[in-house]
Each structure stands twice: as C-alpha cells, then as structure tokens.
Amino acid sequence: MKINSTFGRTAAVPALVGGLLLASACGSSSSSSSFSSPKDGVSATEITIGMSSDVTGPAASNYLPYTSGVKAYFDAVNGKGGINGRKVNVVVLDDQSQAPKGVSNYRRFVTQTPALAFTGLNSTQQSAVAAQSRANNLPFVGSIVTGADMMKPFNKNFYSLACTYPDQAEVAVAFMVEQLGLAAPRIMTSQTPVASGNEWASVVKELVQKAGGTLVANHVTEYGALNEDVFGRDVADKKPDMLIAHGATSTAQVTMKSLAKFGVKNLPIGTAAVLQDGSVPATAPGVVNSYYAFNCYTAPGAAGADGEPLIAAAKAAGLEAKVYDRPEFTQGYTIAMVMAKAIEGAGDRPTRDAVQQQLDKLNELDNGALSPAVTFSPDDHVGIAGVRPYKYNPSSGAFEPVGEFDDYAGCLTNYYVTRSLDSWNKDCIK
C-alpha cells in the first residue's frame, strides 16, 4: 500500500508533466501560431510563396498581368485574415526571361529563402530547372506557360496551369483550316527562340501535314530585334494562306511592322495564348484579315465572362484595366487560387508535402468559368484541359470567345499524357 502510495505520488509527477505536454501539443495543433517549418517557408505567422517572373525583360508585358493576378488574389486573402491565420507573403524575383536568372531564382526558393510553393519561369527556364524540380519537394504550381520538359517524363512536383502548347496548336490548326476551308492549306509559323517555340513549330508542322497542308516555312523572331524584315520579305514572297504564330507581344509587334513594310495584306493569323493582346493586330491594321488567339483563360472583362471578383481584387490592388483585363491576369489569379486551396486544405501545419497531397486531389476548382475547371490527380498534373479561339474585334479592341471549351474538346489528344498526335484529325470541332 505504501509502495503503491509512493508509486502513486511518483507516477503523478510525470503523468502531470505528460498531461501538460499533451495539452500543450493539443493546443498547438489547434492554433497556427505555434507551428513553424522554416525549411518549408512557413513561420508562425507567415507563409512564403516564391515567384520568378519577367518584371523588366522582353516579355514583361505578358508576365506583368500574371504576376499581378497572383498578388491580387493573395492580397485579397490577406485582407480577410490570411490562410488559417497566416498571412501570405508573395516574394517576386525578376528573371528578365533569362535562363540563368530563372534558375538562380528557383534555387533560392528551394533552400535559401524557402517557399511553401513556387510559380513562374518561361519554358526555357523550366527546361533548365526540370531535373532539379524532380529532385526536391517544392510544389511548382504552374506558370504563364508549360514547358514540355517539366511534363515529360511525369514530374510529381510540377502542376501545369497553362494550356499546353500542343493543346493550343491542336485547336489552332483545326480551327484555322476550317475557317479558310482549304483542302491543302499553305501555312507559315513563327516562334521565339525558346523551348516552347520549338515545340510549337514542331507540333504545328505535324498537324498541318495531318490536315493535308504544307508548312511553307518557320521563322524565328528574336527578342529585341529592331525589325523582322527578312520574315516580312519571306511572307510577301511565299504568300502563305495563314500564319500560325508564337512569341511575345514585343516580337509580334515588330513582326507586324515588317509585314506592313512589305505590303502583306489581309493575312489570317492564329496565335498561341500569349499573343492574345490587341496591341499586336493594332500595330498594322491592314496586315490582318482575322486574328485569333487560342487560349484556355478568358480576360475578366470579356463579353459574357463572370469576372467581377477578379476585377474587384484588381481594383483593390490599385491595378489599371490594361493590366487586369487580360487572360494572363485570370491565369495568375487562378494559380493563386489553386495554391490557396491546397494550403488551406493542408490545415494548420502546412508543409510542402502536405500541400502536394492536397494538390493531387484538387477536383473541379472553378474560377467563375473563366477557364475549364482545374483538376489534378496523383498521376495527371495537367490541371487545365480545354482551349478555344478568341477573336480580335478591331472596333472594340477586345477579344471575344468563339464558342465553349467543350466545342473543341474533340481536338485535344492530351499529348503530355498520350505522347502522340495520332488521334488528332482536322474535323474535330463540334
């Protein structure tokens, strides 16, 4: 009895301490303020999101709306108290579309200034970090573009939130060929010297041949070139039925000037998503007969779009319409929305692994039908499946969606999963 009593008193102390520790631990799990994981970019009060974007380089006009979309969404989240009590700090580093800077920025967010999740980089920069991104656990949640090297072979850490270039090309070629009604169209392509440009040119070439047409020539347009006179002369000489273009706003504007110089008129142009910018056809109005961009995102202010929440967030962030009324803004906003959803789902103890688990089960996330809903699974990280044409209206200067995403679903081969264009045919539009 005495022993028992002694035992009882002796045991009471660790029991009490254990109880207090348990209570403390329970307390910590219900309050975000006591959990931190610096190696994951999470402190007691703040979450770091890493972003590498072209802020001052040749593609800045395309990347600025995307960067603004990410920041505007998280500004709105922070205004409502953050995610599970933590503020979100978006750290943006300028990469000027240069591969070494992009790689350096990405590495910094992996270890030096750890981030819970990352977004950004162009396709060439993505190619440069593809191996590294497979070797660490930093969730890489999309960018304005998706490079093939990030997706092939499957990368468990990369989540694509751009319509892939094969997707864009598959709809672009089918639509443009249908519009012109030509049995054997003669097509020219243009691209900037980046990984996605090479992919664009090669996929379009294969599709044009499958459509019974000919790729007359592909021209590489350089960032910062003063003119594209050789290209302009070539188009004037070869007289293609249409141009299927890839590039950035600045390179496309220079190209339009050179096309005008060489008297090119009424050329139908279909472009990749990043050239959905009215300033391109407006550069040389007589050159363009019809101008279509192939995209999976709709600008918040487009006709029929339900973009009010985005416009409100943009205005609250002090942004001008020329920045927020662009599809890239919707894309940035959607990427932030996806990140926030995954971080929130990870609960009070967000880590990179926990965020990835949440991303892998993200299902039908809707941004107000401004794009197809976002869905990931553990073995399919193509989050956006769907592309449609957007027609430039010269009188309003705006792009108007042509049909619904579903109308073009039959054109998509899901190339990054199937690795084949065999199932594509030109009569795929509903």
């Binding site: 590489v220 006179d229 002369r233 008297g263 020329k322």
Partner: protein, 289 residues
C-alpha cells in the same frame, strides 16, 4: 537574286541605325576617352519621350524637334552632374559610372512607362516604295539618308571646325590641350551633348520604324561590334561598321538562321581584331618605347 538584293537593302537600313548609334559612342570616346555604356539607354529614353511629347503636344514634328532639343540638354547635364566629378579618377571608375547610369535610366524608363511596348504614329511615312524588284520603306530611306548626312557633317566637323579640332586635340593630348588654352570640360560637355543628340536621332527613327520598348537600350550592345569593326577612333568607320553589321545580320538571318546572325557578326569582329586591330578605318596608335 531579288531576295538577296532586298536583304542587302534591309541590312543597309538597319545598319544605318547601328551606325548612328555607333557614331555617338565614337564621338564621346574620341573626345573624352570614355566609352559611354549608357548610350543605348539614351536611345530608348528618346523614343519613350517622343511618345509622351506626341501625346502632350499633339503634333509629331513638334515632338520630334522637342526630343532633339531636350535629350542633348540631358546629355550635357549628365556630363556636368555625373561625368565631370569623375574627371581625374581612374578610367575604370568612370566606365562603371556610365554602366550605373545606364541601369538607372533603364529602371527610370520602366518606372515611368511600364513594360508594355508602345507605338509612335509620327509624321514619318510608313509606306514603302518599289525600286525595281526591291521594296524599301520611306522611313528606311530616310534613315540611310540621315546616316550619310551625319557621316559627312561629322567628317567636316572634325577636320574643318575649331570645336572639332579642339575635341580631337583633347582626346589625343588632354594635358597639352589644356595648357594651350582649350577648355576641356566644355569640350567634354559638347561631346556628351552631341552624343545624346545622335542617340535622340536614332531613338526617333526607331520609334518610327520599330516599336518603342526598353529593349531599344540593347542597341548599344550591337553598336559596340560596329564600333570595333569600323575602328574605335573613326566616325566614318562607325558608319561603315554599322552598315557591315546590319548587312551581315540580314544575310545570315535569310540564308542561315536568326541565331547565326549573332555568330557571324562576332566572327567578323574576331577576324578584324586579329587581322586589323585598329578596325577597318581606324588608325594605328604609335606607342613610344
């Protein structure tokens, strides 16, 4: 054959712009011994200023005249506020100052105008004329004409005018020139002002023929090979080097690839440095043992 001639003509037009930028670099170097690495930013700043002034004044010609007045004044101010205090300091420090100035100007442009490229719908006609089988834009003809006029004017300036001779004297023997009564600081200011004027001319022409973006700053990087190929001390060489670079670029682009153009230009640069280090029209400096 028609395409070949067309590409040569396009190369001459593009090269004339390089040449104008190169003259600005040579002029400042010839007079002050300083390679102005902020020269490209003056080109970009001029083009952006032109878009602002056109919007404010509503008249393209008036805006062009305003830019051609304002930018040289900025050049003189840069000399007095930034370069002059560096006189007597190691050359490397002065060169670094011009690099810093270039970065600051580039940042200022981005802050003031943002990253979006702009258009200038000025009074310079955008149409083209056909001469035989060759099509050439009126703006390109104007560019070539201005380059030729600049070549002649600066040739006369450096050989016939008192100010031009003083500039050459200061560049060759600064101490002796000062002892002879030449106001070196004034000469430097004029050099920076005239250099900025040439940058403004290039900026106006580029705004009319290309798009206005901060990437125009990079033009100086293309003008550097033109300066070396033509001869770093020769105004005529700057134009010849510029046109050579422009033609090589266009031919390489047409018959190889865009990327090959850069390789070809630098291969020629290397060849010139190996075979004629003073450049095509440069003069070899005599060194006393």
């Amino acid at each position: 054959m028609a395409s070949f001639i067309q590409d040569i003509v396009s190369g001459i037009a593009t090269g004339s712009i390089y040449g104008l930028v190169a003259i600005g670099l040579v002029l400042v170097y010839k007079s002050t011994g300083v390679f102005n690495f902020a020269h490209g930013e003056f080109v970009a700043l001029s083009a952006f200023l032109l878009t602002s002034l056109t919007a404010a004044l509503g008249a393209g010609w008036l805006a062009i005249v305003a830019v051609l007045v304002i930018v040289p004044i900025l050049g003189v101010l840069v000399h007095y506020l930034i370069i002059r205090p560096m006189m007597g300091k190691p050359l490397l420090a002065t060169v670094m100052t011009t690099i810093g100035l270039g970065l600051a100007l580039r940042a200022l442009i981005l802050i003031l105008y943002g990253p979006d490229p702009r258009q200038f719908d000025g009074p310079i006609p955008s149409n083209a004329v056909d001469i035989g089988s060759v099509r050439i834009a009126v703006s390109d003809l104007l560019t070539i004409g201005i380059a030729v006029v600049c070549l002649l004017l600066f040739g006369l300036f450096f050989t016939r005018s008192s100010l031009g001779l003083q500039m050459r004297a200061v560049a060759n023997q600064m101490e002796a020139s000062i002892l002879s009564g030449v106001n070196a600081s004034r000469i430097y200011a004029v050099a920076f002002g005239v250099g900025a004027l040439l940058a403004a001319v290039a900026g106006v022409l580029l705004a009319s023929t290309s798009v206005v973006s901060v990437q125009l700053s990079n033009l100086a990087l293309i003008a550097f090979p033109a300066v070396i190929i033509g001869g770093i001390s020769s105004v005529q060489g700057a134009i010849v080097g510029g046109i050579l670079v422009g033609v090589l670029e266009k031919l390489a682009e047409a018959y190889a690839s865009q990327q090959a153009a850069i390789a070809v230009v630098y291969a020629v640069l290397l060849a010139v440095l190996l075979l004629r280090p003073q450049g095509i029209l440069g003069t070899r400096e005599a060194m006393r043992a």
